[in-house]
Symmetry: C2
Subunit: 353 residues, 2 copies
């Protein structure tokens, strides 16, 4: 049966990295049909809407979605509803892509790229499971209002129901079962009631996963421990806002964020796949961007949504191979390696397949 | 005129580190009277209340407060109102200690302690200005409620008014004026309305401080940049929750969190001073704790609240001297240095004065 993949190039370097990833996907000779649509700033410019109805419709009908990146200074002055990010948040929410899987892996070939000492990060392999369609990102009420005394006040609501916590918790426990069987849940239960409930639900779930060792850590300590001794973690699970911060910190520990893919899954394994790095408007259109995170996102897509495990493995091996060959885009360049462009890197992966 | 300092030893290693800091203060021959009171778990055990009225009364009447640390596993199961942390949050709020100054400084003598490469952190000197009496820590409504469908929901409110933002903003701009004149304000303005207002107020304030260069950064990017290139920052300003996370990450970059003091100030320069590290219950009572962060907190107290600048300088020089002498508590121990106890370290600082 033909699978349908929707490609959303987006803004900045989005189009160029997605182009290479699509070439890689095409090389695999799978029964996949590819369509594309507008999102983010590109969609705002063309239609006035960061998530046009047509895009949402196509996304609903696809088996999986590959996203480049959204955002850029061009739209920074826009009102909230007309910001590129609203397209991304909208598609996550509308498709209920609540489970964001963000691996932070240090490739041995790139160990030097990290700002941390080699003994602290070598072999690093953390998976952060971030709740993506709830929490303070989507909580109501929200806005800016004028108080009786005439001054303005901004407000947002951090909210989670038990069922929201339970479904992301399950994803995390199951991910831990397939890995090192250790799960660390991150909260701020000494201050925030919403995370007291979070912690309780995780403790309840733990009974159903006796093979997984559950621990809890406060978010401020987690930020410290990621810097102090990141290899202590296997899988971490947390809410939308803490996950945003901690997963970026964890990604940066590797020093090669241009290598890191991510998946955002719904209850049925349908997912959107995107590189962890952003739209990097400063280098857009210059052939400097690293397409490997997007290519590795395709591998995640094959594994989690399209059930093409062998093809996923092949891509990951091809990426290892080009690294072994010493090919590097500017972001991961080091002495003795060969500097290549976005397109050359894509072509090298295709050749390695 | 006699100045009054209230000492709150608190829990875990609190009492032992505060003892050494008080000895140092006593050595200076200043006209200071010292009183002490209960807070945190110690206060819960003695009175059932983490912030007894007597403590609050004494704190109101003091010119400055020196706090050890609060919390420990003994009270982890307590309901929110009977947790040690409530004492700390209560005193911050009741005394309107809204400006939390948290320096992250790497002492050259301890450069090796960092998990980051020397070239990334050597000479690190960041000041994080964190709002401490507002934001999601104190926002209403908050709690855990049962929904119509029978499941529970946890909720907290992230809220800031213009005047709250303005007063912490002023503290940050003024701090920047006295340092490198660069201020980076951290928000999540692409998602959270409350931080859109935050950013706006910072931009308005910038007009009054033309000698300070203001920039803005998203919190996820800030977490990355602290790992990637922390020396790009001079002063950072942010809300209570983001400040909690980022200041701990920044502190840990130094690898020697046992060295870092903090100040929490009200509008008039009255303040509470405490080490950045916590109550470390695992090593409490063993003479292993590093008293230097608390001793350096005394220096901050002399500088910010008691107008004894020369005495503050003397303490800071004495701390440098004991480091130069190669004295180290366990947390900062390295080869070729001499391991000392909490008390020995305190005595060494007194001797160096
Ligand atoms: C672009 C932004 C809205 C988004 C987020 O905060 O979720 C991004 O930082 C991410 O992590 O995917
Ligand atoms: C103990 C806790 C309530 C406190 C906070 O979150 O503010 C601590 O982490 C701090 O940073 O002083």
């Amino acid at each position: 049966m033909t699978k349908h993949v929707l490609v959303l190039p987006g803004d900045g370097i989005g189009p160029e990295i997605v182009t290479e990833a699509v070439k890689v996907l095409g090389t695999l000779n799978l029964d996949i049909e590819i369509d594309s649509a507008l999102i983010g700033g590109a969609a705002v410019d063309a239609t006035g809407n960061p998530l046009p109805d047509e895009t949402l419709e196509k996304a609903r009908n696809a088996d999986a979605i590959l996203l480049g990146a959204v955002g850029g200074p061009k739209w920074d002055g826009n009102a909230m509803e007309q910001r590129p990010e609203k397209g991304l948040l909208g598609i996550r929410s509308q498709l209920e892509l609540f489970a964001n899987l963000r691996p932070a892996i240090l490739y041995p070939q790139l160990a030097e790229a990290s700002t941390l000492k080699p003994e602290v990060v070598s072999g690093l392999d953390i998976l952060i499971v971030r709740e993506l369609t709830g929490g303070i990102y989507f909580g109501q009420p929200r806005g800016i209002r004028t108080l009786d005394n005439g001054e303005r006040e901004g407000y947002n609501t951090y909210v989670y129901s038990e069922s929201e916590i339970r479904r992301i918790g399950r994803q995390a426990f199951e991910a831990a079962q397939k890995r090192g069987k250790r799960l660390c849940s991150i909260d701020k239960s000494n201050v925030l009631e919403v995370t007291v409930l979070w912690k309780e639900v995780m403790d309840e779930l733990a009974k159903e996963y006796p093979d997984v060792e559950l621990s809890h850590m406060l978010v401020d300590n987690a930020a410290m421990q990621l810097v102090r001794a990141p290899k202590q973690f296997d899988v971490m699970v947390t809410g939308n806002m803490f996950g945003d911060i901690l997963s970026d910190a964890a990604a940066m520990l590797t020093g090669s964020i241009g290598m890191l893919p991510s998946a955002s899954l719904d209850e049925n394994g349908k997912g959107m796949y995107e590189p962890c790095h952003g739209s990097a408007p400063d280098i857009a259109g210059q052939g400097k961007a690293n397409p490997l995170a997007t290519i590795l996102s395709v591998a995640m897509m094959l594994r989690y949504s399209l059930n093409e495990i062998a093809a996923a493995d092949r891509i990951e091996q091809a990426v290892e191979k080009v690294l072994d060959q010493g090919l590097r885009t500017a972001d991961i360049m080091s002495e003795g390696c060969k500097l290549v462009s976005t397109e050359e890197m894509g072509a090298a992966v295709v050749a390695a397949l």
